[in-house]
């Protein structure tokens, strides 16, 4: 039976629809005689437990809660018996083993439903055979199959032995949405919540393995700089140092720095030594002279030249460089580097023994570590096993593999298990930052006052330069343009062009919650407001006039975009904020919207604010209207939307990473500022009920926060701010 189960699983996978991304069998206990595993993701055991394996990593977004719910719904399992477990790492899954982009539910919804439904059909078939009746006279409910004629029932656990001998249905019949008892219902709690509130949940940094040492690294503060010399004597008085050695840079896609590793018996010894160790560096010419100001000046200059790439073009050609001539309205926007600053600083345990690596930690993309970092040692993804721990925040930072690669380099050197920790200062200064970008937007209004011509130019370094090893490859500029309206304008504008130019970054960049929407959507939604003002039209009416009566269409990336759904969230947010109410001077309302094409979500945020003469902002009300299609776990969804709101508030008000003498200036939460409790007003969430394909929430809840608040401030003050964060222009909250 065990072997048969294994073969069935292979054929199940080869059907191609279970989990399309899962290319190999994971290392589950397929030989367990008391369990039945009709899919790599579901295991039913004779003790009644139903294990749902989640191969998306839990980082607070709730995948271990929402994804098992989808399986339980179709399986008709009793949710109390369902246990979510992280799917053990599969060595050959490569880059596909990643969690990001608000796509977990979007991509897994149908595969998980089919997996649950197939298992249910097999269990029902066994019960029907037992009773000698048709499957039509059976139904499943709360982990039992019920004979609908006699009301007799058999528990799933008593059917699994025979079920495992059945062929797996290729096209199981899915439940009708109206019969859902779990999906979309309130009251679901996070599956690991008790472990969190009792302090029992072990994150990577909480984990220890026998014989483990502790490591920190003194890294070169300037990118491209190298260790010239270091003075062992400077840490001679610190007890417990085991080894000091020079760290090699690990190259493209990993982008680790030159530095000196400190390995010690205790973490405290390593931390003390990190403070004391004297290291001299050499820098490439000019590298230690770069600053935020010089980088933004470089971007501004680049925008005046011919772009590297025209990404989107429609209608009559728009000149690359329209001159403000009374007809063209032009505005320049500037968006800074920002850090992820997840609460759990980066860390990774690595061990190298018998020619193989074993890792423990939190990873959004363990496949990258397996397929890229191993190469540095002349090994392959078969030579590594990764133990996946819950993440104390990801936000895109843990899609990178620098921290695991460094831990591997240390373990390789010392031949003992070691936990590498980034201090908060390291985490802040050696992040893979959200790119800094400069934008010029220009438009010409037609006789109807709507934009007739539109041009959006951006100067930026693509994230792909670093994290995908694509420096100088202009095709990857597309990645910075394809999100949102810059990729394919939501609004009805007959003639437009979007263009990208590269300005190589002085810092390593990475994907940050809401990626390119966190700049492109921000500036576009602000500029639309600027145009509305010039046109003398109300900003809500202006948006609606550019969205209404347009058919749904496939946009450039192939996603279906329905302007009516975007218009609906704009209208709902406007209605809830009481847009047309008369307001006193010094008060204002602002709105912004976003179609997040990566995750099929429509969102609008509206704010009512007052701004004092000293630029003190008071957010009187904040409203969000969302349509993400079918919502699986409403409270988990709301938690994500609340989180996206706070993430956006930090970015618009306070957060920035700046550069001086080639080095990052911020080091902790006292100088990299983020929203704290007193800064955050209540958010009124309004969800448009929908049975459309379920979209994502984590990233999609961010992009309209920032321009929505900027527009409200502009409405209250009459002054348009075009640089973030607002604190640099004297605003506070």
């Amino acid at each position: 039976m065990q072997r048969r189960a294994f073969i069935q699983l292979s054929s199940f996978l080869s059907g191609g629809w279970v989990v399309a991304q899962l290319v190999s069998l994971p290392a589950f206990a397929a030989d367990d005689p008391v369990c039945f595993q009709p899919s790599p993701l579901i295991k039913l055991c004779s003790d009644g437990k139903i294990i749902v394996y989640v191969y998306k990593q839990e980082m607070g977004q709730g995948v271990q809660t929402s994804l098992p719910l989808i399986v339980a719904e179709e399986l008709e399992a009793d949710p109390k018996q369902v246990i979510a477990e992280a799917l053990p790492y599969s060595p050959s899954s490569g880059f596909n083993y990643s969690t990001g982009g608000s796509t977990s539910i979007l991509r897994e919804f149908m595969p998980l439903r089919k997996a649950g439904a197939a298992a249910r059909e097999m269990l029902i078939k066994v019960a029907a055979n037992e009773w000698g009746i048709s499957v039509d006279n059976c139904r499943a409910q709360k982990s039992r199959v019920i004979n609908t004629t006699t009301n007799q029932s058999i528990a799933f656990k008593d059917l699994i032995a025979k079920a495992s001998a059945l062929p797996i249905p290729k096209e199981p019949v899915l439940k009708n949405y109206k019969d859902f008892t779990l999906i979309g219902k309130p009251g679901v709690k996070k599956n690991n919540i008790r472990d969190i509130v009792t302090g029992k949940l072990k994150y990577g940094l909480d984990y220890r393995v026998p014989n483990m040492l502790y490591a920190v690294i003194v890294r070169c503060p300037v990118m491209g700089g190298k260790v010239a010399s270091w003075d062992k004597q400077s840490v001679a008085t610190i007890d417990g140092i085991v080894e000091l050695f020079e760290m090699k840079e690990m190259g493209d896609q990993l982008e680790t720095r030159s530095g000196v590793a400190i390995v010690a018996n205790t973490r405290w010894a390593a931390l003390r030594a990190q403070k004391s160790l004297q290291v001299q560096w050499t820098y490439p010419a000019g590298a230690n002279e770069k600053s935020s100001a010089s980088y933004f000046a470089e971007q501004a200059a680049r925008l005046q030249k011919t772009p590297d790439m025209i990404y989107n073009e429609k209608g009559a050609a728009v000149n690359d460089m329209p001159q403000p001539d009374g007809e063209w309205i032009t505005a320049s926007y500037q968006i800074p580097f920002v850090a992820h600053a997840a609460m759990e600083p980066l860390n990774c345990i690595a061990d190298f023994s018998n020619g193989k690596f074993t890792l423990w930690g939190g990873f959004q993309n363990p496949g990258k570590t397996a397929s890229v970092a191993t190469k540095f040692f002349g090994l392959t993804s078969k030579d590594i096993f990764i133990n996946l721990m819950p993440l104390g925040g990801g936000f895109g930072r843990r899609l990178s593999a620098d921290y695991s690669a460094e831990a591997m380099q240390v373990a390789y050197q010392i031949k003992r298990p070691v936990q590498l920790m980034f201090t908060r200062e390291d985490d802040m200064k050696f992040d893979n930052y959200r790119p800094a970008s400069s934008h010029i937007l220009s438009a010409k209004l037609g006789a109807d006052k709507k934009p007739a011509d539109w041009l959006h130019k951006i100067a930026i370094a693509p994230v792909a330069d670093y994290l995908l090893g694509m420096k100088g490859n202009n095709n990857w500029l597309a990645m910075e343009a394809e999100g949102g309206s810059m990729g394919d304008m939501y609004y009805a504008i007959p003639s437009l062009r979007s263009a990208v130019s590269r300005t190589p970054s002085p810092l390593v960049e990475g994907w940050w919650r809401a990626v390119n929407f966190s700049y492109n959507n921000v500036v576009i939604e602000c500029f639309i407001d600027e145009l509305a003002k010039k046109a003398g039209v109300d900003p809500v009416e202006y948006r609606l006039s550019l969205l209404k009566n347009m058919p749904a269409r496939k946009i450039k990336d192939g996603t279906l975009f329905d302007p009516a759904r975007l218009a609906a969230v704009v209208e709902l947010a406007a209605e809830k904020i009481e847009w047309n109410k008369k307001r006193a001077a010094g008060k204002g309302v602002g709105i912004a919207c976003c179609f997040y094409n990566h995750a099929k979500a429509y969102t609008a945020h509206a704010f009512e604010v007052s701004v004092s003469k000293t630029k003190k902002i008071k957010i009187l009300r904040a409203v969000v209207a969302t349509d993400v299609g079918l919502v699986i776990d409403p409270d988990g969804f709301a938690n994500q939307v609340e989180g996206g709101f706070v993430w956006g508030l930090s970015a618009v008000l306070k957060s920035e990473i700046t550069l001086a003498n080639g080095a990052v200036q911020q080091s902790s939460f006292f100088d990299f500022l983020v929203a704290r409790m007193p800064d955050v007003p209540a958010l009124e969430i309004h969800v448009i009920p929908s049975n459309a394909e379920p979209g994502g929430a984590g990233e999609t809840s961010v992009p309209s926060v920032i321009p929505g608040l900027m527009n409200a401030i502009a409405a209250a003050t009459g002054v348009r701010v075009r640089e973030l964060p607002l604190k640099n222009k004297g605003y506070s909250i």
């Binding site: 302090g199 205790t266 819950p390």
Partner: protein
């Protein structure tokens, strides 16, 4: 190495640690009480908050010697199974996302509720403003503190 007698979660224990080692690392690395989290090491995020004689402190800013003769309470000491009213409220409101900062948030809230059994929003803001949650659970934390106040009065 100096030896200290510390009372942690009601249990007196003797530990050996360098004189300058912060309580945070004593708890986490010497005593394996990893519920208290490292977030910044400089007192700017509050993830490492524990109670010293009932008052919230940043355990990254105190050495073991500063805690001798006082009581230290950590998240592990609140209740094994999550039965403390603050933990109950946290679960009822479904507060956490990633959960990493929540031990510090919960311990700060426990102390706040001892001072103000029925805190106002302003008192909550005041008590909690030193803590960072990057997932953005502030609104739920505030709600849960009110909920805990309500549960505590039952």
């Amino acid at each position: 190495m100096p030896e200290y007698q510390l009372t942690i979660n009601g249990k007196s224990q003797s530990i050996e640690a360098p004189a300058d080692m912060p309580l945070l690392w004593v708890l986490r690395d010497v005593l394996d009480l990893t519920g208290t989290k490292y977030g910044c090491g400089v007192g700017s995020c509050g993830s490492c908050t524990v109670l010293l004689n009932g008052k919230p402190i940043r355990s990254c800013q105190y050495t073991a010697s500063a805690c001798v003769g006082k009581t230290v309470s950590t998240i592990e000491g609140l209740s094994e199974e999550g039965t403390h009213v603050v933990q109950q409220a946290w679960m009822e409101i479904n507060v956490p996302q990633c959960g990493y900062c929540q031990a510090g948030q919960i311990m700060t809230s426990v102390a706040l509720l001892q001072t103000f059994p029925q805190p106002t929003d302003e008192q909550i803001d005041e008590a909690m403003q030193g803590l960072v949650c990057r997932c953005g659970t502030y609104a739920r934390i505030k709600k849960a503190i009110h909920k805990a106040a309500e549960l505590g009065n039952k």
